[in-house]
């Protein structure tokens, strides 16, 4: 009996190892062999994205496929992949041959530039700093807002339990931190010691620091932890949609303009011969149809006219700071706040 178990276990282990190898080899592109495959042949591109964009890109891919076929008479197959933004960037670094990346953070895309996969100046390659849609950070509270949380001041009070992911491990969570910092900084008139104290009392209220945004949403929504979840606006709307009578969105007076970045992975499209279609795939994200689709998926369209069409959904009066003007860009912000030993580490030191 025991021997049978052992044999089975061994067989299982072997099978899984083989499975991993087979799985890995599938990652390679199917159209990689000839570089001039622009004719009638089916094109295939891979879009490596982050967690909450799954539904958006499922719909967008269909839209783009129709557009491309009408325009060029070519069928294009699109593979999408989702996960934590940083993890996804690493997978591309380590050999996942993405044609385009659509990630949560400019910094994650920039890691690919540093590795030589993307050319310098990618931020300016597409309009609006290569951010076709934006979002912001809002509060998700329990129905009826029992603790009456209206703004950042309220959630740093003792006794309020806050759920947010760890900015060290979650790209998305950095926006949360920076939004809080911007609010504190505005009220302190630029006194950074006071800002640190504000953030210290905020994170002292954090009872669960999940490693990713999806984890925090589960902790707050499914496991009933905490009074307020600091969430991306689009994620907050999704939670509302799934649990219509349990939660409310509270818009703070000030938040941050979260700009997810898109880019063509130059080194890979060159290899696959998919330069043209990859570029068109990202450009089309700015078309009116795509912008509306983004709005319907609770991302804020970057086209101001189309954004106005969604003024019932989004609070357009929140004061939004942005990373470039208020924090000097991602590189500076990462260095100042999130590097080892920087401000985020300091607020946890005793």
């Amino acid at each position: 009996m025991k021997r049978i178990f052992k044999t089975l276990a061994l067989a299982g282990a072997l099978a899984s190892i083989i499975g991993v190898f087979v799985g890995c080899s599938k990652n390679g592109p199917s159209s990689g062999s000839d570089a001039d495959g622009s004719s009638a042949k089916t094109l295939a591109i891979t879009n490596v994205s982050y967690d909450p964009t799954r539904e958006l890109y499922e719909q967008y891919n269909e839209l783009f496929q129709t557009y491309w076929e009408e325009e060029k008479g070519q069928k294009v197959e699109i593979t999408q992949s989702h996960g934590g933004s940083g993890k996804q960037a690493r997978s591309v670094l380590e050999g996942n041959e993405a044609d385009v990346v659509t990630l949560a953070l400019e910094g994650d895309v920039d890691e690919l530039r540093k590795a030589g996969l993307i050319e310098d100046g990618w931020v300016k390659e597409f309009p609006k700093n290569s951010a076709p849609y934006t979002s912001t950070i809002v509060f998700l509270v329990r129905k009826g807002n029992p603790k009456n949380l209206k703004d950042w001041d309220d959630i740093v009070q003792p006794g309020v339990e806050v759920i947010t992911p760890d900015p060290k491990s979650s790209g998305g969570a950095r926006w949360n931190f920076l939004a809080a910092w911007a609010y504190a900084d505005k009220n302190s008139g630029g006194n950074e010691e006071q800002d640190k104290e504000f953030l210290k009392s905020l994170y002292a209220n954090v009872t669960v620091l999940d490693s990713g945004a999806r984890g925090s949403t589960t902790t707050f929504v499914e496991n009933g932890q905490g009074d307020v979840l600091l969430a991306w606006e689009n994620e907050a709307f999704l939670s509302l949609k799934e649990h219509p009578d349990e939660f409310e969105i509270v818009n703070p007076s000030l938040s941050i303009l979260a700009q997810p970045s898109v880019a063509v992975v130059d080194a890979n499209v060159e290899k696959h011969g998919t330069e043209e279609v990859s570029k068109a795939y990202l450009e089309y994200l700015y078309s009116d149809d795509a912008q509306r689709l983004e709005g319907q998926n609770y991302y804020r369209p970057s086209n101001p006219d189309i954004l106005k069409e969604f003024s019932d959904t989004f609070d357009l009066d929140i004061e939004l700071v942005n990373i470039d003007d208020d924090f000097g860009g991602w590189e500076a912000a990462t260095e100042k706040f999130f590097a080892d030993g920087a401000i985020f580490d300091q607020i946890y030191k005793k």
Binding site: D166, S169, T207, V208, D210, G215, T219, N223, Q225, K350
Partner: protein, 268 residues
């Protein structure tokens, strides 16, 4: 020599190299660009040291609890005949088969103060999920098969006649357990402890969900490694990984030494 030694040894070495030695060497290789000063700074950073404490202490507690319950479980499974014994026997391995994230999520939900079990404890003011207690629970879950499966074969081979003889000679039940049974299963229990302990130190998937991950309180070492990776800081991640490899190695080595001594004593 028995025929086939060359072939089987060859296959063994190849497999070991491919899946154990080469990956471990690549850990060292990644570190070759790091100066010792940087390495030391990373591995002795206050927050990182705090995670060693959490990981090691929780793993020690979990492995100890596992040994006690593991002996009991193995005893029941080998000494008694009862309905569904085979089913229970099969269930022991479930923690091996279940994806750890699934285990982590279900444990977290069950043991959170809104969950079935956590709710009961919550009423008397004990929080389980998102505390070190939660970490220990997840570790017990993933560690238990190691102890049971180490002890079970020894108990199966242990002839009940020894116990009968001791009983006939007038030994009390507890005396029989401590003087007759326990010395026999001690080496196996130690192996189980060591395996469970080492597994618990390295466990990531199930623990991160239940841990709460608050720096200096409920962060485990594997999480810090993930954090460094997330910041594209491969050198720092590898440095801490190396520390964990050393921990695990020392632990298993120590247990082997201890076992050798016990066996020596047992043989006189």
């Amino acid at each position: 020599m028995i025929p086939g030694f060359g072939l089987s040894m060859g296959i063994t070495i190849t497999m070991l190299s491919l899946i154990v030695l080469i990956p471990l060497l690549s850990v060292l290789l990644t570190l070759s660009n790091t100066t010792f000063k940087d390495f030391w700074q990373v591995i002795t950073d206050g927050q990182t040291v705090a995670t060693y404490k959490v990981s090691l202490s929780c793993a020690a507690v979990a492995a100890t609890i596992n040994v006690v319950f593991g002996i009991l479980l193995a005893w029941i499974l080998t000494r008694y005949k009862f309905p569904f014994r085979r089913v229970l026997d099969g269930l022991i391995e479930l923690p091996f088969a279940l994806p750890t994230a699934v285990a982590g999520i279900s444990l977290t939900t069950l043991y959170s103060d809104k969950g079935w079990i956590g709710g009961l404890f919550g009423k008397i003011g004990i929080k389980i999920s998102y505390t070190t207690t939660g970490i220990v629970i997840a570790m017990i879950f993933i560690g238990i098969p190691f102890v049971v499966r180490s002890i079970q074969p020894v108990l199966e081979k242990l002839d009940p006649q020894y116990e009968e003889a001791a009983s006939a000679l007038g030994a009390s039940r507890s005396r029989i357990f401590f003087k007759v049974v326990f010395p026999e299963i001690l080496p196996a229990a130690l192996t189980g402890f060591g395996l469970a302990f080492a597994r618990c130190i390295g466990e990531y998937g199930s623990v991160v969900f239940i841990a709460g991950n608050i720096p200096y309180q409920t962060q485990i070492t594997p999480l810090i490694i993930m954090n460094k990776l997330e910041q594209f800081n491969y050198a720092a991640a590898t440095s801490i990984a190396l520390v964990m490899v050393i921990f695990a190695f020392l632990l298993l080595f120590g247990i082997n030494l201890l076992q050798a001594r016990i066996n020596k004593i047992a043989r006189g």
